[in-house]
């Protein structure tokens, strides 16, 4: 077990006042809160900050922590003998804790020093079945066709001693076609167990899409960049367009299409009662460096056109 430097976690000095600690915590909590910060490590960092604050804001806990810190050899993996005995705590619980935030799980270091007050407090809660929440990542094609997926979940469970352990379980879920990013699936009866014959809670899965190399998604609409040659854009062309569900449709590119022109394939977005649309965004791609004959052809084109693409800038 490693010593946790709570002062470092909050970026404050050892002699920081209670006010300094509160300010540092509030600033960092806003910065790393997982609802506000979508970086992958935000949640871990937020929990670390929360644990540090829980100790340092409480004068009794802070004094015990400082005392342990003085006796702990710098860099040592092992704590000093009897380091965690002889401290007593009231084990208070704040009013909003039952409603739940992102905090609540503690490091081994914290639990060794301060015990598991929170877990014990929770186990005294009324025996109402809890609804559980988790996130699941699916592919865009699953939203088009629907899918049967096995989903592995880590469920925190309380053991008889009130210790939180992670239990893994696998659920086979029928993901309905038409589900969109950010929506939630409800699985009845798959949440926490019911007590005294009460029904089990429900499980809610938040849907996220795995990023796709070609398709982008906005709600029920899907976007695809489609490269076209300059002459295809100029003269019009029939081109094959791949859809997220694996099928291919023919699209006619109108003559005289400009770079970035959006062509709508109605109803080819994510399916549903109101299906989304698929937008094909034309990207005019230049051919590789021309050989002599091609260079002459471009030159002939240039002579034929009295076109200056920068004209409009003068006019503006």
């Amino acid at each position: 077990m490693k010593f946790k430097d709570y002062y470092q976690a909050l970026g404050v000095a050892r002699e920081a006042s209670a006010d300094d600690i509160k300010h540092a915590y509030r600033r960092l909590a806003r910065k790393y809160h997982p609802d506000l910060n979508k970086e992958a490590d935000a949640e871990a960092r937020f929990k670390e900050i929360g644990e540090a604050y829980e100790v340092l804001k409480d004068p009794e806990k802070r004094a015990a922590y400082d005392d342990v810190g003085k006796r702990w050899q710098p860099g040592a993996e092992q704590p000093p003998p009897d380091w965690d005995s002889g401290y007593e705590f009231r084990g208070g619980e704040d009013a909003f804790a039952a409603a739940g935030g992102f905090g609540g799980e503690h490091s081994d270091f914290f639990e060794a020093l301060f015990g598991r007050h929170r877990a014990q407090t929770r186990s005294r809660a009324p025996p109402r079945a809890q609804d559980h929440h988790a996130k699941v990542v699916i592919d865009l094609v699953d939203a088009y066709r629907g899918a049967s997926r096995s989903i592995r979940l880590q469920m925190p469970t309380l053991d008889a001693q009130g210790h939180v352990t992670l239990r893994e379980r696998t659920l086979d879920v029928a993901i309905p076609a038409g589900v969109r990013e950010g929506q939630h699936l409800r699985l009845a009866g798959q949440g926490g167990p019911g007590f005294d014959g009460a029904p089990a809670g429900d499980l809610y899965l938040e849907i996220a899409f795995r990023a796709h190399a070609r398709f982008r998604v906005d709600g029920r609409d899907v976007y695809l960049d489609l490269p076209v040659a300059p002459w295809e854009a100029a003269l019009g062309a029939g081109v094959d367009v791949p859809l997220p569900d694996g099928s291919v449709v023919q699209l006619s590119v109108p003559a005289g299409s400009a770079q970035g022109r959006k062509l709508r394939l109605k109803g080819k977005g994510i399916p549903g009662k109101t299906p989304g649309d698929l937008y094909v965004v034309l990207q005019i791609a230049m051919p590789p460096a021309p050989d002599e004959a091609q260079r002459r052809a471009w030159d002939a084109l240039a002579r034929l056109h009295a076109f200056n693409p920068r004209d409009h800038r003068e006019a503006a």
Partner: protein, 104 residues
Amino acid sequence: MTTLSFLQCQVVEEEVQLSLAELCQASNAERELVLQLVEHGVIEPMGSAPQAWVFTGSSLQRTRVALRLLHDLELNLPGAALAVDLLDEIARLQRALQAARPSR
């Protein structure tokens, strides 16, 4: 392929409506706190009296985010209400930005 063993589910935002009791249960929140969220306009039920209230499925997500902000950041209710609105707006803008951005 047998599909019988696969769990069926509902899309909360489209197929689910929640009563006040169900919303409290699904968000693990005290009834009093949910009443306050309604009062501050974080969530807006249909129906006149609390016993007749019906919440849309998307109220659940807003409730859960508001509760986390209240708890974790020590916000007050008007602050949390504002933050939930702004987070929704940021999510909408990010989706639009993502859709508008060429892939390379």
